[in-house]
Amino acid sequence: MRAIAYSVAAMLVLVGLYLALGGASYAPAKVADPCVKRSWRGPQGFEAVAEQIVLSALDGAACQLHVSREDMVLALADSGRREQFIREHDISNARLESLVRNGLKRSIGDAQNAGALNATVAGVLRGVVGNLPIDELLDLLQRLRGL
């Protein structure tokens, strides 16, 4: 019986130690709820402003579709993933683009209200967002880093 007692004690210590060190929560990080409003961080420079506009727009679209912002990014990353996303969420491509486009227009307005964009730049951006297909918009953003 002593052997059983020693075994139980040793295993309680081992398992307890691993749990105390975070064993039960060692998993991929949970992503944030897109419906919880993130504060406007007062970004500096065009790149940072553009990033915040895009992220805010993705949050809005993700919230309406009950998915995470990261799911939206993955859906927009390539055509194969987008088709899978559209199938899984039973929406059309046009609806997906419209949600992203409306989100971008809203967040451009937020940036303008926060003083991060002046009226002229905001107007130009609204024009670009309203007329360019989403794929081309993403390619344009990616090409901007080379400028």
Partner: protein
């Protein structure tokens, strides 16, 4: 012909038992290479293990019935068939042929193991000693299998495992020199239900330690087979150390119960690893190895104690152990596969969040996110874990180094977590083994 000294005969018979029982886990570390060579699904790949263990489980009792009448003939013929099937495995043209040959190995291996028990009784002139040696050889073989397989796979390719088995098996035939084994006339008694049921559950639990742990090391944490093989030698070393002190733990049921508790605790610790990394597996492996040494030796001795016709009861223990392994594989494979898919999605989300939240240039994030996805897609197509750090490693900026670390951390978390439920279910099987151990504690008076 000069008869072989008893000591040498015992060593050769032990070698043959260890060789056959190592075969149930020896190809584990070679599975990724076999997967690539034959281009099969992961769920199909498990049949390289299942076919051998299933054949061994089904053939053990009938082979034992035959072996107690003609132990010398059964040992000789089955050893030759086992060696031939092993050699043929190395040259399998298709995965289906490999699975079929593994089944032949299993049938022949069952006959080798049970006949060896009868021959060990002759050589030691004591059933109890024979049972102890037989159990020890089986424990060492089963636990050392993954390590040997890993080392051979990396140094010479997976085929070398089978090529090497053939001559080693044939060397064991020397044990038959000058043997005049007598047939056992009296009918065998009924098997020890409780001890065999406990063996089944303990063996089912050990599937996670002997199979899943090495998959985690190689496929999950990307260790080379040689390194992974060395890491998992901790278990056989602990098992051998435990069997040396096992004799002092009496009665037998308390030894078996202590072993089952150590196995369950070690598996639970593997299910709740606080971080990815070999160092975190050391203590759980020591516990599992020690538990394996205590539980299998005690349960095998209990199953054979006070029974006439040792080979038949040895056959029952082999049938119970390998049925447990098959059930463990069939139970854990779908759990593990589902968790792997779920964690792949979670890791993609977490990795995307890491890119979005990183300090790299905002306009670079789109390109990096796309590069990561390309790396993930390529790795998925090749059935391997992506090297996400390599996507950003070519940049010298510290922000990219931080992003690389964040991506690797999320990947490590996802991979490690994918094994968690399987280890915890296995731990539960280990604990369930306590039920037959406690219920059967009065079956034999040892």
């Amino acid at each position: 012909m000069q008869p072989l000294a008893a000591r040498n005969r015992i060593a050769l018979l032990g070698l043959s038992v260890g060789l056959v029982l190592a075969d149930s886990s020896v190809v584990t570390l070679a599975l990724p290479k076999i997967l690539v060579q034959f281009d099969v699904e992961v769920s199909t790949l498990a049949w390289a293990l299942i076919s051998f263990n299933l054949a061994l489980a089904l053939a053990a009792v009938p082979a034992a019935a035959l072996a107690r009448r003609r132990p010398v003939g059964v040992f000789g013929v089955s050893t030759v068939v086992f060696a031939a099937a092993s050699l043929a495995c190395a040259f399998s043209p298709t995965f289906g042929v490999l699975v079929g040959l593994r089944a032949v190995q299993g049938v022949a291996g069952a006959a080798v193991v049970v006949a060896a028990l009868d021959l060990l009784s002759e050589a030691t002139e004591a059933d109890a000693s024979a049972a102890r040696i037989w159990a020890l050889a089986g424990i060492v073989g089963a636990s050392v299998g993954p390590a040997i397989g890993g080392i051979l796979t990396q140094l010479f390719g997976w085929e070398s495992i089978f090529v090497l088995q053939a001559p080693v098996a044939l060397i064991a035939l020397l044990a038959l020199r000058g043997v005049q084994a007598r047939p056992v006339p009296e009918p065998a008694e009924r098997p020890q239900i409780a001890a065999n049921a406990a063996l089944l559950l303990v063996s089912g639990a050990l599937v996670a330690a002997l199979f899943l742990l090495v998959i985690l090391l190689i496929n999950g944490w990307r260790l080379e087979p040689l390194a992974a093989g060395l890491v998992v030698t901790i278990m056989p070393l602990a098992a051998i150390a435990a069997t040396r002190v096992a004799g002092g733990i009496t009665p037998l049921w308390t030894r078996a119960a202590s072993g089952a508790i150590l196995i369950a605790g070690g598996l639970a610790a593997l299910g709740w690893l606080p971080h990815a990394g070999v160092v975190w597996t050391i203590l759980p492996q020591v516990a599992i190895g020690a538990g394996l040494g205590l539980a299998l030796s005690a349960l095998t001795q209990r199953a054979l104690a006070g029974r006439s016709g040792q080979a038949v009861h040895g056959g029952w223990t082999i049938a119970a152990r390998h049925t447990g392994i098959v059930l463990g594989l069939l139970l854990l494979t779908p759990i593990f596969t589902a968790d792997l898919n779920r964690n792949e999605d979670n890791a993609l989300r977490a990795g995307t969040a890491a890119v979005l939240d990183s300090r790299i240039s905002p306009l670079d994030k789109i390109g990096v996110a796309r590069d990561v996805l390309v790396a993930v897609d390529r790795a998925t197509a090749d059935g391997r874990i992506p090297d996400v750090r390599a996507v950003v490693d070519h940049r010298s900026d510290s922000a990219y180094a931080d992003l690389g670390n964040a991506l690797q951390d999320q990947l490590d978390r996802a991979v490690t977590n994918a094994f968690s439920h399987s280890f915890l279910v296995s731990a539960l099987l280990g604990l369930l083994a306590l039920v037959p151990i406690v219920l059967g504690r009065k079956e034999v008076g040892v």
